[in-house]
């Protein structure tokens, strides 16, 4: 676990950001419900959730590759080509 702690941190960031995303979504849901008075999540809210999820997925990938570049850099730096059958 000594040299893989960053993957645990990465998973924790993913989990925590999902929770923050849901919290933001709850604010959005409460806000939109003030206008239509509906207790149900409407199509707009579902679409917002999908957009937020895609945004999260892109951000997570960016974080993984950029924030942990110091570690992943060991892998992504071109050193020697190794091909397999």
């Amino acid at each position: 676990m000594r040299d893989t702690y960053w993957i645990y941190m990465n998973l924790f960031i993913a989990w925590f950001s999902i929770l923050i995303g849901f919290y933001l979504l709850s604010i959005l849901v409460n806000y939109t419900r003030q206008f239509n008075g509906s207790i149900f999540i409407n199509v707009f809210e579902v679409l917002m959730a999908v957009v937020m999820f895609l945004l999260w997925l892109t951000l997570w990938r960016l974080i993984t590759i950029r924030l942990f570049k110091r570690i992943i850099g060991k892998l992504s730096t071109y050193m020697e080509p190794v091909t397999y059958e």
Binding site: I7, Y23, I41, V46, K74, Y78, P81
Partner: protein
């Protein structure tokens, strides 16, 4: 009564799988259905597609629940049908080597029984929000969800015991999560599935005596997916499967998308002569979870498998925390 049912259903699933593994392994050996364990220095031959034994465990225990607990009959039937369809896709992949896009599309079919049997509740519980009503969006998302879980488990079988061990941890955490939220009947279904994966893990862990094959990994993925969709706690399921889902996403996004193995010109890892496995230092290689685990140093296969399981355990603990955060009765 609940505890007795729990013990019986777990025992049925565990024992039928455990008993059938050697027999199916012998059958596969006889038919020449064997795979090469590429991470071992001596490259031993190992019986392939023995994941069929997990199907036997799933089916016997779910049929037992179907017959003994009427309130679970529809759920069990839907899960059984989903597993059957997903395992057929896996079987096809074992013999025909399907393209990733084809696997993703075919695996969506395993969600259809759940929709037709209406074995779902379109009111998932979301943290901070509570119950939301998704009458239209939810059934549309079911095939996609099943495809994601099936393919994620299929792509998370890189070393001995990684798939069966991580599936056991995920199912155990889900079973506990359902018990924590008062859904005891769902916990019984979880135990029915857990028994089979746990029994298979004893044979599949390092050094593997059997391989599950795509038939096994697809069945396990569909089992987890259909279990979560029919029983609720969707977000908890996603959190528990984070390492597998993110591993699949990273492979697809850094390894040529849906183009398949042919698009990957450089393998992510390579075995060394001293028995260790190291990450390939080439930017063209896909960024897999195993490659990330090996970023610091070369490791033994058993260490990689343990790290894989530890990561799944970590996300499973996070999923249990999420289950506690969920607003009851929201």
């Amino acid at each position: 009564m609940l505890i007795i049912n729990a013990l019986v259903v777990f025992a049925i699933s565990f024992l039928t799988t455990l008993i059938s593994i050697p027999r199916i392994a012998l059958f596969m050996n006889g038919k020449g259905i064997i795979g090469i364990d590429v991470h071992k220095p001596n490259k031993p031959n190992v019986p392939e597609m023995v994941g069929v034994s997990m199907l036997i465990g799933f089916f016997t225990s779910l049929v037992f629940l179907f017959l003994t607990i009427p309130e679970l009959s529809n759920t069990c039937l839907a899960i059984l049908a989903s597993i059957a369809i997903a395992s057929l896709v896996g079987l096809l992949d074992d013999f025909r080597d399907l393209s990733p896009l084809c696997k993703v599309l075919l695996a969506t079919l395993s969600g259809i029984p759940i929709i037709f049997l209406r074995a779902y509740n379109p009111r998932p519980m979301i943290p901070f929000i509570g119950r939301v009503r998704l009458t239209i969006a939810y059934p549309l998302a079911i095939p996609l969800a099943l495809s994601v879980t099936s393919n994620a488990m299929n792509m998370s079988d890189p070393v001995n015991g990684a798939m069966s061990g991580s599936a056991s941890i995920i199912l155990a955490s889900l079973t506990v999560a359902y018990a924590l939220t008062g859904k005891y009947s769902a916990s019984l279904v979880g135990l029915a599935l857990l028994g089979a994966t746990l029994a298979f893990y004893f044979y599949n862990r390092y050094p593997a005596r059997v391989f599950s094959g795509n038939v096994g990994s697809f069945a396990v993925g569909a089992a987890i997916g259909s279990f979560v969709v029919t029983s609720g706690l969707e977000v908890v399921g996603v959190i528990a499967m984070l390492p597998q889902i993110l591993n699949s996403y990273m492979i697809l996004s850094t390894g040529g998308g849906f183009k398949g193995k042919k698009a990957i010109t450089v393998r992510p890892t390579r075995p060394l002569e001293n028995g260790l496995i190291e990450a390939v230092k080439d930017q063209r290689a896909p960024l897999t979870l195993v490659r990330m685990i090996l970023a610091g140093s070369a490791k033994h296969e058993s260490e990689i498998a343990n790290e894989f399981l530890a990561l799944t355990l970590f996300s499973s603990i996070l999923s249990l925390v999420t289950a506690l955060i969920l607003q009851p009765g929201g």
